[in-house]
Structures are given as C-alpha cells and as structure tokens.
Amino acid sequence: MKMVRVIVSFLAMFFVNAVSAGVDDTVWKNELKTQFFADRSISETENIIAIEAPYRAEDAALVPIRITSKINQTNDKYIKKITLIVDKNPTPFAAEFNFTPLSGKADVAMRLRINSYSYVRAIAEMNDGQLIMAKKFVKASGGCSAPIGADLDAAMKRLGRMKFKLSGTAQSNEPNLAQLLISHPNITGMQMDQVTRFIRPAYYVEEVKVTFDGQPVLTAKTDIAISADPNFRFYFVPQSSGDLRAEVSDTDGNTFSQTYRVEP
C-alpha cells in the first residue's frame, strides 16, 4: 500500500513537473499566436526590442517587467505598438502600449501578476507593420504567494490617486524617463462562488492615456495581469515646457486624471 502511494506520488510529481516546469511554447503556438496575430509572421530578431524579467518571480503579485527598445523613435521608423502576453495566465493578454515618434523611445516598464511558470512575451509592431517578438520565461514562486495585492483596504482608500515622477531635471528635445503611479486595487474577478458570501467582479484599470501638451505619448489598454497600483515607466520628448497629463479609466467607468508641469 505504502509502495503504491510512493509510486503514485512519484508519478504525480513527474507529471506535475513535466507540465508546469516545462519551458514550453505550446499555448502560444497552438492558440495565442493565432488569436492575437492571425497568420502574420513574427520574427525574433534581437535588434528591435528586449524584455527583462526576473527568472524567479519573488512575488507573483508584483513582478517587475521592463521592455527596452533598441531604436529611437523617428518619423520614418518607430515602434507603433507593443503587446504584452503572459502565456499561462487565466487572461493571457496583459497590456497593449501604443507609442508615437513623440515618445522618443518605446521603452515601457510595469509590474505584472504571473500565475504560474510562464513565458512573458512582448510583440512589437513597427510603423510599417512588421512584427518582432522578445520573450522571457518566468517561474512564479510558490508558497503563500498569491497574485493578489496585500492590503486591500489601503488600496481602496487611495483609489484614484496618481503621481508622476521624473528622473532628474527634464531635458528638452531628448527622451526623458517618466514614471506614472496609479493607485487602484485592480481586483481580479476570479473568485469561486462555492466559497464566497459575496462576489466582487473584476475591477481594474483598462485604459491609460499619457499626453504631453495634448500630443499622445503613451496610450495603453491594460488588463487584470497588471498588478494592483499600476505603475508605468516610459519616455517622452518635451520640446519646451508643457503639461504631462495622464487620463485613466477603469472597468466601472471611473476616470481619473493627473497633470504634471514639465519645465526643461
């Protein structure tokens, strides 16, 4: 009996390892690629974008991810859009970022919820329609780490607060790095009704628009994979002084905005 159990657990372990630890592309190849990009070809050349992610996610609820572009945004050649996908998340689509030549550089950093061992992939679309992909495999850590924010009351209390932060003094006519902090619980709607007394549907930030003096810098469609208190870092190019402005809307139809005066 004990022997049987040992064998069974050994087999179970093998099975689980094979399924979860496998650095595999199947979900992407079999479903996601077609779902998001139909039959368009996607290259993995390394001279357009790169993605940085920790190999082990220390906190599955908040995994820092950074996408860096290897070209400057010019009117002739620029990255128009970056789609971010987490293969094994319940909702693989994490975000879509739209850039303009005014972005300066199509870099973007954010924090993600990653439910299990998965590829995180960024697919850049150039202004001429070419698609280029960069990907990283992330091991979401186990234990009591659930992809949920820690202090829900604090998050609700701050709901809608936003902050801009700039690194140093702004420089005119060159890409400046800015950080946008949005306080929002970004609650997942994945509760199980068998165990609940109340069900909170998903409630999250779904659109972020950043402009400089009225011109779009970064426009993002975001989903539930973005961590609580969404945080984005991106570039913009001020020609002269002006207003950096963010407009954010969530799935309940709330809108929030924040303006930051930039004086290069």
């Binding site: 979860s20 234990g143 009591c144 994945m190 165990v195 007394r197």
Partner: protein, 310 residues
C-alpha cells in the same frame, strides 16, 4: 509449553498490530507549554510536497468546558492529527477553531474540525481574504503541497472579530484581538490569561525570516502596541516559544525597521523597484532561515507600500 509459546507469540503479534494501528491513526507531537496549553512545533521549511504544507506552529487551549484550537494546520490530515491529539489528551469538547490569518499553513486543517458545536473564528477581513485567495490556493494545492484541496477546505469564519472578543472556555478566558494590517490584513492574536501566554502566530517570527504580506508600517505599529503587554511567554507562528517579552521581538523589529529605512531612502533617491530588490538588506542573510525565499518578496511589498508615502 509449546502452547504457551504460541499463545504468547499470538499475544505479541496482537499487541504489535494494535500498536501499529494506534500508530497509523496517529497523533501530533505536542509540548505542554503551560497547564492546559499545548503547542506543536513547525519546522522552518517552505511548504512542499514532502511536508504537505504542515510547517506552522499550531496548538490548543483546554478549559473546563471548551477547547479552543489555535490554527488548524497546513492540510486536512494535519488537522485530523491535531484533533486526535486533543481527543487523546482531554474529554473536553472542541468549541472553537481560531484561524490567526489566511495563509494556507494555518487554515487548511479546518475541514477536519467541522462538526456540530464547533465555531470558526477569524478576523473581520478573513472571509474576504479567503475569497480572494482561496481559488488560487486550491488550484495550486496538488502541485505545491501534493494534497488535492477542494472548496470544502475553505471554511469561512462563523464569528468575525472586529476589535476584540473574549472567549470563555470555562474557568479560562481567551482574549482574541483583531489587528490592523500587519503580517497580513487579517491577523488575530490570542491572549490566554490563565497562563499569561500571548499566541502571536505570524505576527512574530523567530529564526524564520519575517514575511510581509500586509503592511510594513502597520506591522511595526501593531508590534509597538503588543510589546507593551506584560506576559510570561509568547508563541510565534514560526520558531520556538519565547519567554522574554518584548526582548524576543528584537531581531524581527530590527529587520523590519531596516527594510523601512533602506527602501524609503531608495525611493527618495528616485531608484526603482528592481534596484531595491537587488540591493536592499543583503547583509541580513546569515541571520535568518529561509532568507532567500522571502527577503526579495518582502522588499517588493515594502517598496509598493512606501512609494505612496508622500
């Protein structure tokens, strides 16, 4: 003569079988830390498929009329063993199961205590936390713990504690206190007045690196209030029972304060979360068990909390 041999051999085998059975039915190893107060020591391990998540300190208090369970264990089997242990030690019925907070190593023995006359007690935020995380815990249980947990393993509290609650176990009073966001946003502590023992569960870590899953500033605040209590001993959620209170708190307080100062300073210097994760507090490493497993996660949470300070 031969007959006697056979009979005694039979007796021996019989005894052996009974012993075997008693052993397989099994109880949990517990220490009596005060009259009527029992404690099972959890080892400093990550939850895994070998320990099945049974890693936390758990225990129970026996009054004249009621037993209160202090955390039910990390899986239904551990809960069952704890229940067997209680039934072996006393005939007093189990009236309460107190869940100190939502983490799996403290609540997944719950199912084994369900029954008439047993009430589950939790922080006012516990049901919400169980609801938010429960699905994820269940979904990952087989892979991470080697135990298949089901919705019936999520047992919501029957009694929710908002501020504090006194339980009368019969000539034995327990004060159950609900704390503000600290280790988690649903922490309870239990004071056993008879033995002057403060059951802190994961509000206190000894030897095992403190794990932040609520609020760093909130935790430091709660600890300040708790450290003013005059008690004979405290029981952490992980680590040995400590006699010297509040001195027993010092290492944890130092670690949390270091995080507060260093992360705050990095935020003020305009540094990003990735830098903080890579750099903060690495020299504390030799001082704690499971440092590598939780330190960077702590920094992550602290950074996300403190960047809203101003």
């Amino acid at each position: 003569m031969k007959c006697i041999w056979i009979v005694s051999l039979g007796l021996c085998l019989g005894l052996f079988a009974v012993q075997c059975q008693a052993k397989t039915k099994e109880t949990l190893e517990v220490q009596k830390i005060a009259p009527g107060l029992y404690f099972h020591f959890g080892h400093h391990e990550l939850p895994n498929r070998d320990n099945h998540g049974a890693i936390a300190n758990i225990g129970f208090v026996v009054g004249k009329e009621c037993v209160a369970v202090l955390d039910s264990g990390g899986n239904p089997q551990q809960g069952l063993l704890l229940k067997n242990t209680i039934e072996k030690i006393t005939d007093v019925p189990i009236c309460y199961v107190i869940n100190s907070h939502v983490h799996p190593d403290h609540i997944f023995g719950n199912r084994s205590f369900k029954g008439r006359g047993v009430q589950f007690i939790g922080h006012k935020n516990l049901a919400r936390a169980m609801q938010a995380r429960g699905g994820f815990y269940l979904q990952r249980s087989e892979e991470q713990l080697g135990v298949k947990l089901a919705p019936k393993d999520i047992v919501l509290p029957d009694i929710e504690v908002t501020d504090s609650l006194t339980l009368d176990l019969g000539h034995r009073l327990l004060t159950v206190t609900a704390h503000g966001s600290a280790h988690t946003d649903n922490d309870l502590s239990v004071l056993d007045k008879n033995s002057q023992t403060l059951w802190l569960s994961d509000l206190l870590f000894v030897e095992h690196l403190p794990v932040i899953d609520g609020s760093l500033k909130g935790w430091l605040r709660e600890l300040k209030a708790l450290s003013a209590l005059k008690v004979r001993r405290v029981v952490p959620g992980h680590g040995p029972v400590m006699g010297d209170w509040p001195a027993a708190l010092k290492p944890q307080e130092d670690y949390l304060t270091m995080l507060l100062k260093e992360v705050r300073s990095m935020i003020r210097q305009g540094k990003f979360i990735e830098q903080a994760i890579a750099e903060v507090g690495q020299m504390a490493t030799g001082r704690w068990a499971l440092f590598d497993a939780f330190h960077k996660k702590n920094i992550t949470l602290v950074f996300a909390e403190l960047e809203w300070e101003d």
